[in-house]
């Protein structure tokens, strides 16, 4: 009875708060945009945007690329979800990318992209992104804008406090949002308290980008929500917000909101790294997939791994401390100097800012208020740098402009608030439309933010665009933050849930962006790098077709000798060596997808013909004036027929 009462009160409060927020914002809506906003986001035809913005697609499982300031969507990069547009997750080469210990998982929930760094600055080599549901971390090349590697995170659940990167890309972390038995076991759920754990995974990143789980930190069974690496003086530390320090296993909206303070876990990863290098930690059984796409063979391979190194933080002196932070903190953001760690209590109006130097002093003075499962809890007042008072309702995330200012989103009051580091005074506030989650300043996650633009990523779109039925795309809003006051310049719909984003000046990427794959570097097992190499081969009931495409024909374009019950592999190589001339390949009755093959690339799709006949295939990408003629036929004979394999172009046999 008591609980139901609580829920009712929260519900009413929520409604009240929401409507308040909206009333406030709608009043300012019309006057919010300055008259020359259009000019400031206008990128003339043929001209390029100043920044790349990479927005996660949330439940689309992908990553979308936008130009700023125009807000034009440039590309969707498939990462954790199958993508029929180009055959990712369907083609034989890319199917292994979606392998996990649970089998083939064709969908993901992508959350936090983060760009690789060198000495705390964005270097434009790779972008990493986490998958929340089936814990995974992906690495995407910013040369090819393709997913090159996906590593599964064993023993983890709700991979949310990820994929944030240390300042020299030493580690990318994967924290668990849901505490779970570690390792998994059959256990009564109400026995959770004290028995569940919250493993935090540190993945080492090699010079070539290859990921490798270095260690897993066996933390108490709280929910590890978000995280950020230290930088500057605090480089070597990682900070994680927690909620549900109550360790409630049910009705968490109430039961996980009982403690006035949860924690920010401060992890000295350098100490643990040293401990591990000296043979510390314990290897435990684990099962996880490591998928790597190789650009020379143009094929992905899955390696199943079976061990992971676990570290009990209590065994490494001075490795982990808890900093009490009020009201179920969500965002955990470190300012560019590395001194301030901002914890946003999502159920409060205030922000709690910790000081790294005060934290070190408190550790030195053993200024502890007890411990949690043997991990020291630092005294709240000794680490507190300051509090931003009455910023708004429901603070979530904070980014920095590099000029001593911070910008925090408030979900419940639906606004972005600018405040000053050090004085903690609120300088400006702008309504967002509506219910803003994350915000992003290009480089705002590094030591060198580019504080010209900020985008907010809003959860609710309502009346911003023409209605498209009950299901609407989310919305992002672009603000100019170069002046004292934020100015709303533009809003644009985004695909999926634009959960978080990373931005980088265009010139750091565009000059190194790949235009074609070189045919002479194509080491695909089934590539045909000229028409004379095209052929068919039978191996039992498998038929391999080595096919090429060029404007505007396939070679071969007449194929015979295929039988019902065969498994046909079309290995299609695009012979073009010209920027932006892909060819497509679609086969009637294929149970997978089409292929979209970039110049110089080989991709493979399987087709299992079920009916006798002569069946057409064609190019799906409008490649030339004769695209429509870019087609061919496959003759399918009965299972017991003895029609020999025959492949021709212009009625001539190829050899």
């Amino acid at each position: 009875m008591k609980n139901i009462f609580k829920i009712a009160v929260l519900g009413v409060l929520g409604l009240f708060i929401q409507s308040c927020g909206n009333d406030e914002s709608s009043g300012e809506k019309s006057g919010a945009i300055t008259s020359n906003a259009a000019e400031r986001v206008y990128v003339a035809p043929g001209e390029h945007d100043e920044y790349y913005a990479f927005l996660s697609g949330g439940y689309s499982g992908n990553l979308t690329v936008y130009g700023l300031p125009s807000g034009r969507m440039l590309k969707e990069i498939p990462v954790f979800s199958q993508f029929p547009t180009n055959g990712y997750g369907y083609s034989e080469e890319t199917v292994p990318m979606l392998n996990t210990s649970f089998g083939f998982v064709p969908w993901g929930d992508s959350h936090h992209p983060d760009i690789s760094q060198t000495e705390g600055e964005l270097d434009g080599r790779w972008i990493f992104i986490n998958e929340n549901n089936t814990p995974r971390i992906a690495r995407i090349s910013l040369e090819t804008f393709e997913t090159e590697e996906i590593i599964e995170i064993p023993h983890s659940a709700g991979n949310h406090s990820s994929s944030f990167i240390t300042e020299n890309t030493e580690y990318v972390v994967a924290g668990t949002r849901f505490s779970v038995p570690y390792p998994q076991e059959d256990m009564a759920i109400d026995q959770m308290k004290g028995n569940f754990k919250g493993p935090l995974t540190f993945i080492a990143v090699g010079e070539d980008g290859r990921m490798n789980i270095d260690f897993q930190l066996k933390m108490p069974g709280f929910n590890y929500d978000l995280s950020h690496p230290g930088r500057g003086d605090s480089h070597g530390w990682f900070f994680f917000t927690t909620y549900n320090t109550e360790e409630a296993h049910t009705m968490q909206e109430v039961n996980a909101s009982q403690n006035d303070k949860d924690f920010i876990a401060a992890v000295n990863w350098k100490k643990i790294q040293e401990y591990v290098e000296n043979g510390g930690g314990e290897e435990i059984a684990a099962e996880y997939a490591h998928n790597v796409f190789d650009h020379s063979t143009q094929a992905a391979t899955t390696t199943m791994k079976n061990k992971v190194l676990t570290v009990d933080p209590r065994e490494v002196e001075g490795a982990v401390y808890f900093m009490p932070t009020p009201k179920s903190p969500h965002g955990c953001d470190v300012d560019p100097s590395g001194e301030y760690i901002v914890g946003n209590g999502k159920l409060s109006t205030d922000l709690t800012v910790h000081s790294f130097s005060k934290m070190l002093k408190a550790i030195e003075n053993k200024d502890f208020d007890g411990d949690a499962y043997g991990i020291p809890i630092l005294n709240f007042d000794s680490t507190l740098a300051g509090t931003v008072k009455e910023g708004g309702l429901g603070p979530l995330h904070t980014e920095f402009d590099g000029k001593g200012n911070a910008y925090t989103t408030f979900f419940i009051s639906s606004e972005v608030v600018k405040w000053k580091l050090g004085t903690w005074e609120v300088l400006d506030r702008q309504p967002s439309y509506y219910s803003v989650g994350h915000l992003m300043i290009p480089g705002g996650n590094s030591r060198e933010p580019y504080g010209k633009y900020m985008i907010s990523m809003n959860k609710i779109t309502k009346d911003r665009y023409l209605p498209t039925g009950p299901e609407l795309e989310h919305s992002a809003q672009l603000y100019d933050i170069s002046g004292e006051k934020m100015e709303l310049l533009l809003d644009f719909p985004t695909h999926g849930e634009p959960h978080y984003a990373a931005g980088i000046p265009a010139e750091k990427i565009k000059s190194q962006s790949k235009k074609i794959y070189r045919l002479d570097e194509n080491e695909h097992e089934y590539a045909a790098t000229s028409e004379s190499e095209t052929k068919m081969e039978r191996d039992g009931n498998e038929v391999h077709v080595y096919m090429t495409t060029v404007r505007s024909h396939f070679s071969p374009d007449n194929l015979e000798g295929i039988k019902v019950g065969d498994k046909v592999f079309f290995h299609v190589t695009n012979l073009e060596q010209d920027f932006d001339v892909p060819h497509g390949f679609a086969m009637i009755g294929a149970n997978t997808s089409e292929l979209l093959i970039m110049p110089g690339q080989t991709k493979t799709i399987t087709w299992e013909p079920k009916k006798e006949g002569v069946w057409p295939f064609y190019c799906t990408d409008f490649c030339s004036a004769l695209h429509q003629e870019m087609q061919g036929y496959v003759r399918v004979s009965g299972q017991n027929s003895n029609v020999p394999l025959k492949w021709t172009l212009d009625d001539e046999e190829i050899n």
Partner: protein
């Protein structure tokens, strides 16, 4: 005569630039090729301005039934021109040396220049013939057969010199560094003849 001999040697040596730099360049520009496709014509073969330009030019040209851009083995010119240019440079240098030591009269320089000009004109005519053949001798099975307003088959010949619109492309055809060095060299041999002649006349007085 010393000065004119040296100029004659330098002038004919500048021909050797043709072994390093392209003689001519043809660029094809169209809206969908913001970086124009281009080919550099050397005395011993044709190369794309960018690595895959030749392949891409051939790809476009196949619509109208043009032949592929020839390789050195397919054109005698690419084997003969280097010999002619090398021979003329050597001959010019020899004449320059002989002139330097006053063994021959500077009129030999003029003779060399006249021969070189004659060969140059022949070369340009040959180049023009090749362009004409390339632009008009089309595959009868060509995908696109276009005619002008009088019903004659369209010619796709790029201009010998200058810019011209060909269907959706604008073709630009201009000399490049090799040719400029050759022209400067020939000009120097003319100067060599002029100075040598003057010097001879002064001595005679």
């Amino acid at each position: 005569m010393k000065k004119s001999g040296i100029l004659m040697i330098i002038g004919s040596a500048l021909l050797l630039g043709l072994f390093i730099y392209p003689l001519w360049n043809i660029q094809l520009e169209a809206p969908q090729y913001p970086d124009p496709l281009g080919m550099n014509i050397y005395i011993n073969g044709i190369q794309g301005e960018e690595e895959f330009d030749i392949q891409n030019i051939d790809g476009i040209n196949h619509y109208i039934g043009m032949k592929k851009i020839p390789t050195p083995a397919e054109m005698w010119e690419f084997n003969t021109f280097p010999i002619v240019i090398g021979g003329m440079a050597a001959l010019g240098a020899l004449l320059g040396i002989l002139g330097f030591f006053r063994i021959i009269h500077p009129n030999w320089f003029l003779g060399w220049l006249i021969l070189m000009t004659f060969l140059g004109i022949l070369g340009m005519m040959d180049f023009n013939n090749w362009l004409t053949d390339y632009g008009t001798d089309l595959d009868p099975k060509a995908i696109m057969k276009l005619t002008d307003s009088e019903g004659n088959p369209l010619s796709y010949k790029p201009p010998l010199l200058g810019s011209q619109k060909i269907l959706n492309f604008t073709a630009h055809s201009y000399p490049r560094a090799g040719a400029y060095l050759m022209f400067v060299g020939m000009l120097l041999t003319l100067v060599a003849w002029w100075i040598g002649k003057k010097a001879n006349e002064t001595m005679a007085k």
